[in-house]
Symmetry: C2
Subunit: 327 residues, 2 copies
């Protein structure tokens, strides 16, 4: 039998579904709209239907395929309770018993688990990616926000309530930039993709470089890819955006190291396309902020998961963690 | 048989030794000078001699006493390797195989382990104190420095190299106050006992309150106890020291919560004698810095270990962790 796991990534707009083999390759995938109507029951029915269709299609390709489980990544998902709780970007209000409802649709699939997206990324890194064999590591996902997943002694850290691993909301600057969560000065407000844009606009205001490649783009148009392209062309503002983002991120990663002393910290997301532009200042800043006992020991590595399908691949990896726990 | 554990606390000046019962009470104790001569071999002999004398004295009191193990707390101790590594306040240079050397002196005692002092405090809290039954908690020790011990899923977090749990060195203020470690803006530089003194002197300089009760004491004379006494008498500078210390500490504790979501954070050390003067602003600041999902969930509690003997009591608790692991 060829074993596969189903990975589901619930986003604000779309829900992606993938059938993933043990190596972390997506064999087939599909997506449905994440509804805005707020009716979880209807959504579960549609999702279950799409999953079943996908399983059918993969069995057509190879009838000896066995589905070993379903893993789900969703915002505000609680691994302990199987619920999605007060997710601001989803239309389902309050606390939704998501896992129990989905289980009712799949009597024959024994292994099913849910966690938040950044935790799923960490588990994906551990099962399929660069963290294979590591017992202590942390993943930071840099995107619209900054998520994180923490692994200690080989286990994902959920904390006492299921919500640990929100390192993106550590405070870097007292009373600093407004963060999407309502807080101030959080790492997310500096090191996310929008954070980089905010830095670019601060620097334009500071230097008044009207010849900067970023000076002709509106706030709503600018994105981190454009900043990277400008940096490659030698634009000083764009290059300083990367230097500062790295400084802030390194300061935050050093805080994480002082808590946990991980073997490595993995960085995932769009801004990582810039490679050393982001990695080098991050590493320099982290080292400068570390106690001597931690210096030149902790690796900062780009994630080995592919940007496009990491969310479903990460979610599918949850299945193998559950199987391991059942042993 | 009445079971007891030996706890040893190695400080820069003195080494305290205690025989501790299962309830965490110190039955007998002694101390020897921590040498300045740098000869570990001589020190181990003296320490072993003092331990053996103490065991004899407790067996005189009750001949049915069984020593179940020896636990040691020491600066820069590495639990994984049993070594003390480059401890700046000890005269032993480099990496010292402390545990192996001490084991040679006690062929009949099977359980022996070493960790750093703040980790020992966390283990003491778990075995004898307020964290009994908790699986996820953190201890911050506020003294000359700020140490911490992190417990996740019931296990102390040592990280990949044995040195995790240095939360006192997270950065609160970019390019802020000089920290004893050589870094800048670390929590320790604001929330340790000397940190409170530094805040008092900053505030005197800021307000020029010549009638403050703290205005007639030199930098080297002032201590956190005097600040507390002045605060009790209504001194505005002293009261603001506590308010600011709490603000900084709460910001730091929120960072810790965003990493780990512990059930509780325990605070230990001299400044805690001030009770709500320190606890109240700390709690307010932590709550203000937390994501909504964590608010009004994480308790800040004073340690239940006694200030005077917590170090040896904590060290002795290591023994029960080791026994548990052997099962």
């Amino acid at each position: 039998m060829k074993k596969v796991a189903i990975g589901i990534d619930i986003g604000g707009t779309n829900t992606a579904i993938g059938v993933v083999n043990r190596e972390g390759d997506v064999l087939v995938s599909d997506s449905i709209a994440t509804p805005t109507h707020g009716d979880v029951g209807l959504y579960i029915k549609a999702l279950a239907g799409a999953i079943k269709e996908l399983i059918k299609s993969v069995k057509l390709l190879n009838e000896k395929t066995e589905v070993v489980g379903i893993g789900i990544g969703a915002p505000n998902a609680n691994y302990y309770t199987g619920t999605i709780e007060h997710a601001p970007n989803l239309s389902f209000k309050g606390v939704v018993n998501f896992l129990d409802m989905l289980k009712l649709e799949f009597a024959d699939i024994k292994v099913m688990a849910i966690t938040n997206d950044a935790n799923a990324a960490a588990i994906g890194e551990m099962i399929y990616g660069g963290a294979k064999g590591m017992k202590n590591f942390v993943v930071f996902t840099l995107g619209t926000g900054v998520g994180s997943g923490v692994v200690v002694n080989g286990d994902l850290v959920y904390g006492h309530d299921g919500f640990a691993g929100e390192c993106g909301h550590m405070t870097l600057v007292t009373n600093g930039r407004h963060c999407g969560c309502g807080g101030f000065g959080h790492l997310e407000a500096y090191c996310s993709a929008p954070g980089m844009k905010r830095t670019a606009f601060e620097l334009l205001a500071k230097y008044h470089h009207t010849d900067s490649l970023l000076a002709n783009t509106s706030y709503n148009e600018l994105n981190s890819k454009m900043i990277y392209e400008a940096a490659l062309k030698g634009d000083k503002i764009a290059q300083e955006v990367f230097a500062l983002t790295g400084q802030w991120l390194g300061q935050g990663l050093a805080n994480t190291v002082h808590h946990l002393s991980p073997e490595a910290i993995f960085l995932f997301g769009g801004p990582l396309a810039a490679g050393d532009y982001i990695l080098k200042p991050t590493k320099e800043s982290m080292e400068a902020h570390l106690l001597p006992v931690f210096r030149n020991k902790i690796r900062i590595l780009p994630s080995q998961l592919k940007l496009g399908d990491a969310a479903i691949v990460g979610a599918s990896a949850l299945v193998y963690i559950e199987i391991e726990k059942m042993k």
